[in-house]
């Protein structure tokens, strides 16, 4: 399989995720954009790991860590969003800042 396929998919997902972070009005969906960006990273890592057939499995190990970090981040992030919602009664990022 060509190495380029996963890499190009990763590039596309990263761009889409970035768009989501920068454009979505809802704070929770901004977080989903971040998740997409992290998934793009994972695709890259696994593809390179497979390409190198790395004996230390660096790519896959970092992918595992990234997934765990993403879970930790989204846990903390949703807690912040909920607290924010309690404080200002909205999750619209344009209004949160006011």
């Amino acid at each position: 399989m060509s190495l380029l396929y996963p890499l190009l998919l990763s590039s596309a997902l990263f761009g889409i995720g970035l768009y989501g972070v920068l454009a979505r009005r809802n704070a929770v969906l901004m977080l989903l954009g971040v998740e997409l960006m992290l998934n793009a990273v994972n695709l890259n890592l696994v593809a390179f790991d497979a390409w190198f057939a790395d004996r230390m499995h660096t790519g896959q190990v970092l992918t595992l860590f990234t997934i765990a970090l993403a879970a930790a981040e989204i846990g903390l992030g949703l807690a912040i969003v909920l607290a924010l919602f309690r404080a200002v009664r909205t999750v619209d990022v344009d209004e949160v800042g006011r």
């Binding site: 590039s11 761009g15 989903l32 994972n42 190990v61 846990g75 903390l76 949703l78």
Partner: protein, 169 residues
């Protein structure tokens, strides 16, 4: 183009398309569900790259936990004044800059990878069995693994203390 590649391309189109829908959909819950499709398709890509263990973790953690959390959060933060149940503009005025930046990022990264890795091929060796990953994890990568436990604990404590309301103090 062999069969694996055909399946990979199909999954890629599915993943990218549903990601785009997830980031543009006006229905909040739909967006979350489209994200599930994306994550599932990416898990399929992992399988095609013989990283089965990663694929299962992806399904378990993302689809099983993260997305459920997200949907809960969406429900909990549903605003009282829902004009037409979420059909208002769900993107900000920032969207054109955002679109340009997204395209620049995707094209830039794509061009970089084509320039760097064009013509390389992945051999079909099995790389991602649970045994081999576990072996690597607990020999070479044990320090970051332990630190990760600290990260999860700290994030947990942080999340709990932040979501506890101010009134109980």
């Amino acid at each position: 183009m062999n069969a694996t590649e055909v399946v990979f391309v199909v999954l890629s189109v599915l993943a990218a398309g549903s990601a785009l829908l997830a980031m543009t959909s006006r229905q909040l819950v739909h967006a979350a569900l489209w994200l599930v499709v994306t994550l599932g398709a990416v898990a399929g890509c992992f399988v095609l790259m013989t990283a089965e263990f990663i694929a299962w973790v992806q399904v378990l953690v993302y689809v099983g936990a993260v997305v459920v959390l997200v949907i809960f959060a969406l429900m909990l933060t549903r605003q009282g004044r829902e004009q037409g149940s979420g059909t208002t503009a769900e993107v900000t005025g920032n969207r054109w800059i955002a679109a340009v930046l997204g395209v620049v990022a995707a094209v830039g990264l794509g061009a970089t990878t084509i320039a760097g890795f064009g013509g390389e091929r992945i051999e079909g060796r099995r790389i991602g069995t649970a045994a081999s990953i576990g072996d690597a994890l607990f020999t070479d990568w044990v320090l970051p693994f332990e630190i990760l436990s600290g990260v999860l604990l700290a994030a947990l404590v942080g999340a709990i203390v932040l979501s506890r309301s101010g009134s109980d103090r």
